[in-house]
Symmetry: C2
Subunit: 328 residues, 2 copies
């Protein structure tokens, strides 16, 4: 019932809705409407009530809610279903379980906190309240070789959404760390399951340090949050919707055979192309110059003896001040 | 206890082991030994017993058993653990569950029958008693792009093993159907789970119509069994061991960076290279000539207007009599 009330208030786009109308539509007494409204306030929603006018919801208030998230989202697929949890091990784990059980293409899993958040290769990812921890289930009917494209595409979507919503200039470090002023504010963990020629499902996990304070950030990494970098809180609904819209737009490009356009966007947001990097691969470290991204997702680097090498699983780190090249 | 007795008899390689020795080593009475031996006979093991000499096991008798399978297997990894079930939905399903629960690299799952056996893309695969239904769990520390190599490698391993054990000339139809005289005797279903840059696990499912009669074969497909083609039953243990040895040898080639050698073996067993094929892709059908296998697993075909095209997810079927090219 409370979600229905939220939905009705949202549908009115910030206008007042009279208690009489709510009680009619919902088939409950006006006292009942009042009771639910006060419960919603207790849950954190900011609802203004005036005797003659009725009730008005401030959209960006309260916990994440599928009515709020779905309102004016404007996507056909991304977010067609929202699964919202308070605390999970990780949204990717929940998404994988749901995908195995048959969840729809475009289902989005969100959680307020993750107690077992992970980055790539099983690394820990701190996920306290205030961040955006989200996974999208995709059933794209693709081959395994296309997973790389989706991984890159997701990085572009997150960086662009941050840029649009906060005005901050977010960049991508290969393969898909999201950086602001060379500090990590987000990351992507794509996990896939399927046959070589027929992907069963792809889960794209996105973590963004949205409204985290200094005390919430891991001390050992160069990390930052959007709120710290911009000096003001980010509205989670806005950022989530923007990411889902970008994901959908970029996937459509990809499905239309326009990977080159996705890669062009990736290049334009890369924090380090044509710059010196340290490559870590198979426990060795060597210096190189990053040159380009390849269609298969590999980073093309030039070695000290001028050979071009494609990196698939190695790590790169930016090297000193030249790391800022192409950035800020 | 019975498995221990089997192990001891096997270790003696077909020699007689005295009841006294068995009772000493196992710490049970000679009457107890006798009781277990008769139970083993009831289970289908052929054990010869002579009063003065003791007991002797005929290796290729009785149900599949990890002691029998492991005896003289000679691999370091493939088959380091055997999980043997009577009936399963599919060995791939069991293997995936075990893999998610942390099963070791090289674990082999075997079942006498599958009630939900599947081919590629969810197609049904009849799996009655008499066939070999097996899955290998691999945790190769690979990238997704290497899954294609493993898929091809598995086809080579199965075809070679059939050849070695039965003398039948088995060939591979892209991507990895196993054919004898243009009839399907086996197939491979590789399923993968992991991150783009770090495969968590790979399950290679292998199905071989070993000792199936006419009545066990699906009528609508050109199918055959090894026993029907060779006119005599195949010894399952021999074939399974041969497949695991070939898998291990070929994986070692791959890990040593010698994919080109694996592909050379694949080519030498391909039933249709440089021959006319019908390509089915995206619900369209067109004629082409199959030319070669690519490093990324794609089949390179030449179109009617002489363009070279790489096939990833399409299907090919052999075209009339020319389909026998390179075969038999």
């Amino acid at each position: 019932m409370r979600e229905k009330i939220l939905g009705l208030l949202l549908a009115r786009g910030g206008e007042f809705v009279s208690g009489e109308e709510l009680s009619k539509v919902l088939g409950i007494s006006r006292a009942g409407v009042w009771k639910h409204i006060s419960h919603l306030r207790e849950e954190g929603y900011s609802i203004a009530s005036q005797t003659r006018l009725g009730h008005r919801l401030e959209r960006n208030s309260g916990p994440l809610n599928k009515y709020v998230l779905g309102h004016n989202l404007g996507t056909a697929k991304m977010g067609r279903e929202f699964v919202i949890r308070h605390e999970v091990s990780s949204t990717n784990e929940v998404a994988k379980e749901l995908a195995r059980a048959g969840a729809l293409d475009g289902t989005v899993v969100l959680a307020e906190t993750q107690n077992g958040g992970r980055g790539r290769r099983g690394r820990q990812w701190l996920s306290p309240q205030g961040g955006i921890w989200l996974s999208v289930i995709l059933r794209p009917g693709l081959e395994l070789k296309d997973v790389a494209s989706y991984t890159l595409l997701a990085g572009v979507a997150v960086a662009l959404a941050i840029n649009k919503v906060t005005g901050l200039k977010a960049g991508i470090k290969w393969p898909n760390d999201i950086l602001i002023r060379n500090k990590k504010v987000g990351g992507i963990l794509a996990e896939v399951f399927g046959e070589w020629q027929a992907v069963d499902f792809l889960v794209i996990g996105i973590g963004v340090n949205a409204n985290l304070g200094e005390q919430d950030l891991p001390p050992e990494v160069m990390a930052a949050s959007l709120s710290l970098e911009s000096g003001r809180p980010v509205l989670p609904v806005d950022l989530i919707q923007a990411m889902l819209r970008e994901l959908e737009r970029l996937e459509q490009l990809l499905l239309a055979g326009k990977l080159s356009e996705v890669l062009a966007e990736w290049r334009s947001m890369a924090v380090c192309l044509n710059c010196a990097v340290v490559v870590k691969e198979h426990k060795e470290e060597w210096l190189a110059e990053s040159i380009d991204i390849a269609e298969d997702g590999a980073l093309i680097v030039k070695t000290a003896d001028n050979r071009l090498v494609k990196l698939y699983s190695g790590e790169v780190s930016l090297r000193g001040s030249r790391g800022d090249y192409n950035f800020n």
